[in-house]
Amino acid sequence: MTTHDEPDLQLLERDLRALAEPRPADELLRIAMRGELTSRLRPGPRRRLSMRIAAGSAALGAVAAALAALALVGTNGTGEPSAADAAIIHHALRAVSPPPNEILHVRLVGVQNGVTVVAETWRQTSRPYAFRVAKGEAGHQGEFADNGKTSFVYDPGTNTVSESPGPRSPAFADPIWQVRQELASGRAQLAGTVVIHGTALYKIDLPHGLVGFFAERNYHPWYLDDPQRDGSVIRLRVAAYEYLPMTPTNRALLSVTAQHPAARIERSAGGGAK
């Protein structure tokens, strides 16, 4: 056998290995699949695959067609549902797992006590995880931001930015963080498919009460149902979920002072007013 002595064969072998080479997102995939296996190892009833998925549909596209095929592959036609469910949950997790070195922009809109509220965030997906959050009643959102060393709070009433040393918790800056964690927990459950305002969505029950709705087309988050202590449910519309490149213009989205250049700045811990 002389494959390693022959340059052409070595190159061919190199290319063959490259086709199967591990990729950065594999670890996320491994964790997600492990979570699904863990959930299967817990005792409890299994739900059946929804007819919508089992039957397939031209509109569902290639991925859903493959899922429908796999539902039959794994079971020799016996109809075991959970593998297809797991695949959908995995795709949803992948769709809300940001790549490094970009800015995750999320805008959520909901109605609380008859008032439209907005929460909009921009967050770096790599260190130092700088972020800016605008949150509150539509048109009157307060803002806060953090660049990893200093935190900033903007008061629109006085057009003032207050600076103080020390970072805030970055978990505040990513409203999808909890969704991501719970999708990866292995305890999320596909509850079926629904159509809301003409968009076909997967409905996924998350372990701590949140319900996520993800587009069948690309698994992007579309709505979140957030149950309240009084039994009511606030539906949040995911008006934006996107990754922005780290251009100078987009970097400015992370900064309160860049967004409000005319604001008065108050610095704590020895800082002076400008």
Binding site: P7, L12, L19, P22, R30, A62, V63, A65, H91
Partner: protein, 190 residues
């Protein structure tokens, strides 16, 4: 008594040969222990599938399906071969079923997909496309052998029993496949 003795001898022999025997026994006794087998084989199964299926989402679905099926059917694994051989047989069947289904649905043929996959960022797009086509044109058992070696990264000592041959024979078979591929896959950077 005699039958029992034969079974015990065979079982003991397989146990000695199969490096996963202890983990398999543990998983049978305590299903949660299956996760150790999953951790051991996740990367290899994913690599195997990636060599045979281009579409990334389908690769992930198939890999997930392989382990789900293995977990569900572990009680049917008789231990008269290695666990790895059994697992990659499940993987081979899952890949085969995807290809069979896709043959009936040419619109979702891997080869017709124009979107770039990550490996195309490393290798020239045309070469990868050519290599993919050549692999797809191989017989299923040839693809299986190729994927065990270059996808799962297994040694010939492991591959041989999986394909019903000695390690040496598996090596020779693979060499023939490589020669066949090389004739149809000219390198321009050799």
């Amino acid at each position: 008594m005699e039958v029992t003795a034969v079974v015990d001898r065979r079982s003991a022999r397989v146990h000695a040969l199969d490096p996963d025997a202890e983990l398999v026994a543990a998983a049978r006794a305590h299903p949660r222990e299956f996760l150790a087998l999953y951790d051991r084989y996740f990367e290899r199964v994913l690599g195997y599938v990636r060599l045979r299926i281009r579409d990334a989402a389908t690769c992930e679905d198939v890999t997930s399906q392989v382990f789900t099926t293995a977990l569900e059917q572990l009680s049917r694994f008789r231990g008269d071969g290695s666990f790895a051989g059994w697992l990659f047989r499940i993987a081979g069947n899952a890949v085969h079923d995807v290809h069979r289904r896709r043959a009936a649905e040419p619109l979702i043929d891997d080869r017709a997909d124009p979107s770039p996959s990550p490996e195309e960022l490393v290798l020239a797009r045309e070469r990868v496309h050519r290599l993919r086509v050549l692999i797809t044109d191989l017989r299923a058992e040839q693809q299986h052998l190729l994927a065990l070696r270059y996808g799962a990264g297994l040694a010939f000592e492991e591959i041989g029993p999986m394909v019903g041959a000695s390690p040496g024979t598996a090596r020779v078979r693979l060499h023939r496949i490589l020669e066949e591929l090389r004739r149809r896959y000219p390198h321009d950077d050799a």
